[in-house]
């Protein structure tokens, strides 16, 4: 969680630095000189995100005792479909994702002695989300910043193994929310960004950090509030 709190100010500091840099001046100049403003690129219909970060379900001592400090990581992908564009705000859409994380540790004897047998917990989170992606800063004010809010449901199939046996499985369900701060990378090379759009339909590429929470539960809690970083594309 401490790392999460560090991520936001670092991103903001980077943005402030960018704002005062020659790169910023070049970016603005290129935008002004561009014969084809970004808004006139190919239509923006989708966003695709690839992410990774720690995830530790809030199970408590059973998880710590079984898997120690194993915190995943959670590797995930997400696709958002933009259904509506609100002028001077951004896109509204729905999204779905798929993630994977696995925790492994050693089974113990009834006396608490560690054995060589492996026990594991695997989670496959599937968030189904409503998404508001605010891009007014990037489109209207030339500040390459995206702010995205997400809220929806997490469906989390899980399974537990011990040795050669599947010793349990189920599906947890619960609220999922997220707040994402993205930095569009177009300003590095606007010509290349335009070329990507014309040839591949990739309007924008961005890196992001996301604070998110899952409150999925089944027989035990699968919930966590954590962070992820990743790479995204607007198509």
């Amino acid at each position: 969680m401490a790392r999460t709190l560090v991520l936001v100010p670092v991103t903001l500091a980077a943005l402030v630095a960018f704002d005062a840099s020659p790169a910023r001046a070049q970016y603005v100049a290129e935008r002004q000189m561009s014969a084809r403003p970004a808004a006139l690129g190919t239509p923006e219909r989708f966003a695709v995100e690839l992410r990774g970060g720690p995830y530790t379900p809030d199970v408590g001592p059973p998880l710590d005792d079984s898997f120690g400090d194993d915190d995943g990581p959670l590797l995930a992908g997400e696709i958002d479909v933009f259904l509506l564009r609100i002028p001077y705000v951004g896109h509204v859409g729905i999204g779905g994702g798929f993630g994977w994380t696995r925790y492994t540790g050693r089974a113990v004897t009834p006396d608490g002695e560690e054995t060589e047998e492996e026990t594991s917990l695997t989670l496959l989170p599937i968030p189904i989300l409503a998404v508001l992606r605010i891009d007014v800063l990037a489109r209207e004010l030339d500040i390459p910043l995206l702010v995205t809010g997400k809220i929806g449901v997490d469906v989390v199939p899980w399974s537990v193994t011990k040795g050669n046996e599947d010793s349990g499985s189920g599906v947890g369900v619960g609220l999922h929310w997220g707040v994402q701060l993205g930095l569009e990378l177009d300003f590095f090379d606007r010509a290349a960004a335009r070329s990507l759009d014309e040839e591949w339909g990739i309007n924008h590429t961005f890196v992001f950090g996301e604070l998110f929470g899952s409150h999925a539960e089944d027989q035990f809690s699968l919930a966590d509030v954590t962070w992820a970083i990743g790479l995204g594309f607007i198509l």
Binding site: L84, I151, V153, V173
Partner: protein, 400 residues
């Protein structure tokens, strides 16, 4: 011009020098000298996929110790035998071109005559010989290749020029691979990893043997007397004479062959421990360095694999019972290494994540939710709200 320069001797030298060059420059003429092909049709005891894939070689699965020891029969077919040849004369090359008469003059040992086979005026001749008739089966030699020349001849050994010949390249490996080292066992209920360090060389597979209660699982098996000091753990190529000499019918201990010397076994070969020293097991008299013959492995894994999960239930182990696991490395010639040192495994009751969250009150551990179990109303409410919101947005978009 000095007329002696054009004398008969000079002309002979000139022709002798130019003829090989002419043969190289005229492929058709050179090819005419090698018109026969030698194709392997059967190697006794081998599966079809272990036979050469093309004529002229036995290199994909080299001849190994067992085949040399047993003088395995090889049936080959020699094709395109010239009509005039009454014999097929077999020579083994020591790096020379035995199709050249100069190499077969008997003045050195670069070409060794082997045997001859009558052609009976047939263009295709089947020849069946023991592997010892073709290659040097000196035991303990690492991988080496020999080329067998088959000459269309009239006498044997043929020392003159021949009109046709064919070749067969044979790889021979009569050195055993080293035994795997640094064996690790452990404890568990349904799966116990057994690990080892790979021995050197291009291995074909590893065979896993288990001893439970002093008896080799799967039955069979005998210990071959390693004879010379075994170097199972030491890394030498030669593990001593192979298999059948001095074979014990039973599983008697080959005392003194605890050659691994890497720990885990006692000198008498009657017990062992796991790497951590917490599990002891009865090795049934087997110990590192023994050569096991005619035994059935409990599992076979690939040549690059250095870990296998053993299910102690498959070995019939109850809680508190242990087994000794030995690993044998097998090289591409199917030569088996001596036994590794034993890794001990013990079946114990274990507690995993599922048991820790308290899902095992009933028989067996099923910590999953029952099918159709009710979901949180809050979660279901969120699903409904999300669906409704999406529906509103879609309808509004269509209206626009």
């Amino acid at each position: 011009m000095d007329r002696t320069l054009l004398g008969p001797e000079v002309m002979r030298r000139l022709v002798r020098t130019l003829l090989p060059a002419a043969a190289l420059l005229l492929p058709a003429a050179a090819a005419e000298a090698q018109t026969m092909t030698v194709c392997i049709e059967l190697i006794e005891g081998r599966d079809a996929d272990e036979l050469p894939s093309e004529c002229g070689m036995i290199t994909n699965v080299p001849i190994g110790i067992d085949e040399c020891e047993a003088n395995t029969r090889i049936r080959m077919q020699v094709n395109n035998v010239p009509a005039g040849a009454s014999l097929l004369d077999f020579w083994r090359s020591q790096g020379s071109d035995c199709s050249q008469s100069l190499e077969r003059d008997g003045e050195d040992d670069t070409c060794l005559p082997l045997f001859a086979e009558e052609t009976a005026d047939q263009a295709e001749v089947d020849v069946t010989v023991g592997v010892q008739d073709l290659v040097d089966c000196t035991l303990g030699q690492p991988m080496q290749t020999s080329t067998i020349y088959v000459l269309a001849a009239d006498t044997s050994p043929e020392r003159g020029e021949v009109s046709a010949f064919g070749t067969l390249t044979i790889a021979v490996d009569t050195a055993r691979p080293d035994a795997p080292t640094d064996m690790e066992g452990g404890r568990g209920d349904t799966s116990i990893p057994v690990k080892w360090d790979l021995s050197a060389g291009n291995l074909f597979e590893h065979r896993i043997y288990a001893v439970v209660g002093g008896t080799l699982v799967g039955g069979g098996g005998a210990i071959a007397d390693a004879g010379a000091p075994a170097d199972a753990g030491g890394g030498g190529e030669d593990a001593g004479p192979p298999s059948d000499a001095g074979t014990d019918a039973g599983m008697t201990s080959d005392a003194g062959t605890d050659a691994g010397g890497t720990g885990g076994t006692d000198a008498g070969g009657t017990g062992g421990t796991d790497a951590g020293g917490t599990v002891a097991c009865d090795t049934g008299g087997l110990s590192a360095g023994d050569l096991l013959v005619d035994a059935d492995p409990v599992e076979v894994v690939g040549g690059t694999v250095s870990e296998v999960d053993i299910d102690p239930r498959d070995l019939g182990l109850g809680f508190g019972e242990s087994a000794a696991i030995f690993v044998v490395a097998v090289d591409q010639a199917r030569n088996e290494s001596p036994l590794s040192e034993p890794a001990c495994i013990e079946r114990v009751e274990t507690i995993g994540f599922c048991e820790r969250i308290g899902g095992c009150e009933d028989e067996g551990c099923t910590c999953g939710a029952a099918p159709g179990a009710a979901r949180s109303p809050v979660a279901l409410g969120w699903v409904a709200a999300l669906a409704a919101g999406a529906l509103v947005v879609v309808r509004r978009r269509r209206r626009r």
